[in-house]
Symmetry: C2
Subunit: 139 residues, 2 copies
DNA sequence: TGAAATAATTACATACATACAACTAATACT
DNA sequence: AGTATTAGTTGTATGTATGTAATTATTTCA
């Protein structure tokens, strides 16, 4: 026999998925705004967050090393990132954002994190409760 | 000066995005489980939900007509959907799921809607509140 | 009835995602 | 010192996503 809590969790999760992935998926919008695929945006945001080696970028993106090279090549060609020496290990390179790259990453984050109107229309108590619960879920 | 409510909404929405799109994105998992790209899964789920014309499928997926043909061709080749006559308009065709297609779509939905453990670990009151608020957001 | 619009297909083109093999340079280990 | 390992690159291959142009069959409408 199914626990009520499990049923509620499934219902809530389904609703969240519809809300985030079906009704308010911003990935296409971000890709168009920045003129690159969402995967490139994802890589750029990662690099902007902190300089990283191609290896760690590949791990983060769950891609292989050659594809990481392709993505960084593309971002570098756009002038958004640059390869710099890694004093700790001369085999590897640290990929860093350039100022334009940082601006693009921030623009992407801004679009991604803009809440839908429905969220602003919530009663203040509900909004506060939602924020508190989501924060707890992320811990 | 920025409203507190807006700030809270942005924080909550950011958290939801991280939770749903970064920490618990099930798209890769579904694609692997069903042996097809997530876009094919999305189309299959739409068709399983209700038979539809290629035109309406293209609208739903935000793709053009030729790509809709390609996707339906692929799903049909896998035996998951079939084109049937549309009595209302003989120019168009109604795409329907086959029994295996329905099973695959349901498997996809099951994976997509499985809540993460963190959700089950919430205090019952928080879980109930989350479910209630999410349901309200979807109205 | 004849012209315009629509649904679907076919062919073609390009960018993107993904994987594997082979190679160089640098590091780690025995 | 010599071998194995690691980081990155290059080349190649396949599937997928996306768009345009042209074609056929059917419907709508002036």
């Amino acid at each position: 026999m199914m626990d009520d809590r499990i049923e509620t969790a499934e219902h809530a999760w389904h609703g969240l998925r519809v809300l985030l992935l079906e009704q308010h998926d911003r990935r296409k919008e971000v890709a168009e705004a920045l003129g690159m695929s969402f995967n490139r945006v994802k890589a750029l945001r990662r690099i902007a967050n902190q300089p990283c080696t191609l290896r760690s970028l590949a791990e983060f993106m769950v891609i292989d090393a050659p594809y990481a090279t392709v993505i960084v090549d593309d971002l570098a060609k756009r002038g958004l990132v640059e390869r710099t020496a890694n004093p700790a290990d001369r085999r590897s390179k640290l990929v860093r954002v350039t100022p334009p790259g940082r601006a693009a990453a921030e623009e992407g984050n801004r679009i991604l994190d803009t809440p839908p109107d429905a969220l602003l229309a919530l009663p203040p108590d509900d909004l506060a409760a939602l924020d508190r619960i989501v924060t707890r879920l992320l811990d």
